[in-house]
């Protein structure tokens, strides 16, 4: 294989193997921009797999990045558990009032069945069609929320912190139910054609809990869960920090980590070298105002800091680009990767 003829999938696999591909792979993790392409409201767009497929295809054609993103919005999983989802015109859907309003409910909580959950079936259908369209050339990314992070939406953050600190038995019971669901959900997406699962786990970030608590909680959960996921995973901190737990993350069995703009990309890369692929770390919220020059500079700086030796995918810091980011900025990112991202550097 000559480097200049790499497909997106080859490019991504090469970098995940800590070798240099033809150029730095780019993941534009776009969700709501697909609705804009189709001239549709966000709620309507995510009601049917066909819309999301069409949106993803148009976005890939427009920006020429290196993945399809099968993600709808985090609270699809909450819908599966029977919880409420609130849609907005100018932003991602959110979970509504937590469906666990009394922690005793945890005692009898049963994980949802994927086959019985319409919204999850739409996600699987999206992945299936995108996988066919990709014809082995573009990886399709799936998303599963970590069993340890999803309770913020199940119970609310305050109640969840109280649970972690004060109710070890109920905490374990909740993790068991969530781990069961997470493994099934991740594996269903892999079976539908996802090349890898993005394991969103920001509650494990040192931004949210201290490392000693992580080692007793989120770390154990991740080790058990990732071991049962039958495909590669990338752990994402959703813009929370990760440097103090890099070695621990590597021990969870994950292959990559989505990193924050709050930490130095060069230092992160050093810490991850040959252990974890670094995904990041353009600040998605600042991106809304990036000029063309700033975009070019930020992309170049990221590549200078982290691209050498492979093990690097350029992306935003959160794992989803806000819908307010203009098309011009996305095009400028795509251009800048082609200008500055060619190997050898």
């Amino acid at each position: 294989m000559t480097k200049s003829k790499m497909t997106s999938l080859q490019r991504v696999l090469t970098t995940l193997g800590h070798k240099e591909p033809d150029r730095v792979p780019l993941f534009l993790l776009l969700t709501m921009h697909g609705a804009k392409e189709l001239g549709m409201g966000i709620k309507e767009y995510f009601s049917k797999a066909e819309n999301v497929v069409e949106g993803q295809v148009r976005l890939l054609n427009k920006y020429g990045h290196d993945c399809y993103f099968g993600f709808f919005y985090a609270p699809t999983e909450i819908q599966a558990w029977g919880g409420e989802v609130v849609f907005y015109d100018n932003g991602p859907a959110n979970s509504g009032e937590p469906f666990i309003n009394n922690i005793d409910q945890i005692k009898t909580l049963e994980p949802p069945v994927i086959a019985d959950t319409p919204v999850l079936q739409e996600v699987l259908k999206t992945i299936r069609i995108l996988h066919e369209k990709a014809a082995g050339e573009v990886p399709v990314l799936g998303v599963a929320l970590s069993p340890f992070s999803v309770p913020v939406m199940q119970l609310g953050f305050e109640a969840y912190l109280d649970l972690i600190y004060n109710e070890p038995k109920l905490f374990d019971r909740l993790m068991a139910a969530n781990e069961h669901f997470c493994v099934e959900w991740a594996n269903a997406q892999l079976a539908a054609g996802a090349a890898a699962i993005c394991y969103f786990d920001p509650v494990s970030s040192p931004t949210i809990i201290p490392r000693d608590l992580y080692l007793k909680t989120g770390f154990q959960v991740a080790r058990r869960t990732i071991a049962k996921i039958k495909g590669p995973t990338a752990t994402h901190m959703a813009s929370g920090r990760c440097l103090p737990i890099i070695d621990d993350l590597a021990q969870t069995g994950t292959g990559a980590v989505g990193v924050s703009a709050d930490e130095d990309l060069g230092i992160l890369k050093q810490a991850c070298r040959d252990k974890l692929t670094v995904i990041g770390n353009l600040n998605g919220l600042e991106m809304i105002h990036f000029s063309r020059e700033e975009t070019d500079r930020n992309v170049k700086n990221a590549i200078d800091a982290a691209a050498a030796g492979g093990g690097f995918i350029l992306a935003d810091n959160h794992g989803e680009i806000p819908c307010q980011v203009p098309d011009e900025v996305l095009l400028a990112i795509s251009d800048a990767v082609r200008t500055h991202g060619n190997y050898p550097q």
Partner: protein, 217 residues
């Protein structure tokens, strides 16, 4: 009290908070109150230590769960030593706190705890939509309005609120905070807020500054 002794007490208190040890924090307070007043404790210890923990969080030294637990413990301790509904600070501006549009109440909860621990009385509007918030603020003649959000979409809605409240009878100072403001340091100006805070103790300092400004009127 010797300075070193004072520093010891402070660090004992801070460590108690960081390790969520309510009993140790309570003991530190009792020792302090043997020769100081509650207000002195608030000023010399609570605010200082919470500040350090908030700054440490910004720098990545501490975690949010520690910020949350520290605020809660201080709030609880002060509720206990203060007689019912006593306000440490008299003749204060009318302050309200709200969570706008989204369902993420933790930021607001922490800000509430810290302001209470700092001796302030404030109205908690809970989770509100824009119109309701504007109506309440006007009705209650609020002077300082603190808004917490987690979603960018909610943050962007603040612009309209600022506009609507510019017609209020009295000047409403609008202070904003929450993750999107921390991650985009220009956002607060874009939504035309009067001030922004990046940690919960920032709320305390901003309220104090605004209070100073008001009393000069």
């Amino acid at each position: 009290m010797a300075d070193s002794n004072m520093a010891d007490r402070e660090s004992t208190f801070k460590n108690a908070l960081l390790s969520s040890d309510t009993d140790a924090a309570g003991k530190a307070l009792d020792e302090y109150l043997a020769d100081k007043t509650v207000l002195e404790f608030v000023e010399e210890v609570v605010v200082k230590v919470l500040d350090e923990i908030g700054d440490g969080w910004q720098k990545g030294e501490y975690a949010l769960s520690q910020v949350y637990m520290s605020g809660r413990i201080c709030e609880d301790l002060l509720e206990k030593v203060l007689p019912d509904k006593t306000v440490l600070r008299k003749d204060k501006p009318k302050i309200a706190l709200a969570l706008l549009n989204d369902y993420h109440a933790l930021g607001k909860r922490i800000v509430y705890a810290v302001l209470r621990a700092g001796g302030y009385q404030l109205i908690d509007y809970g989770r509100v939509e824009s119109e309701e918030l504007v109506r309440k603020v006007k009705e209650d003649k609020i002077e300082i309005l603190l808004i917490s959000v987690l979603m960018l979409s909610s943050a962007l809605n603040i612009k309209e609120i600022v506009k609507s409240l510019s017609h209020a009878e009295n000047k409403v100072n609008i202070v904003v905070g929450g993750a999107p403001f921390r991650l985009d340091r220009k956002l607060w100006q874009e939504v035309r807020a009067d001030a922004v805070g990046y940690t919960a103790t920032d709320a305390l300092h901003i309220v104090r500054t605004l209070e100073g400004d008001n009393s000069n009127d």
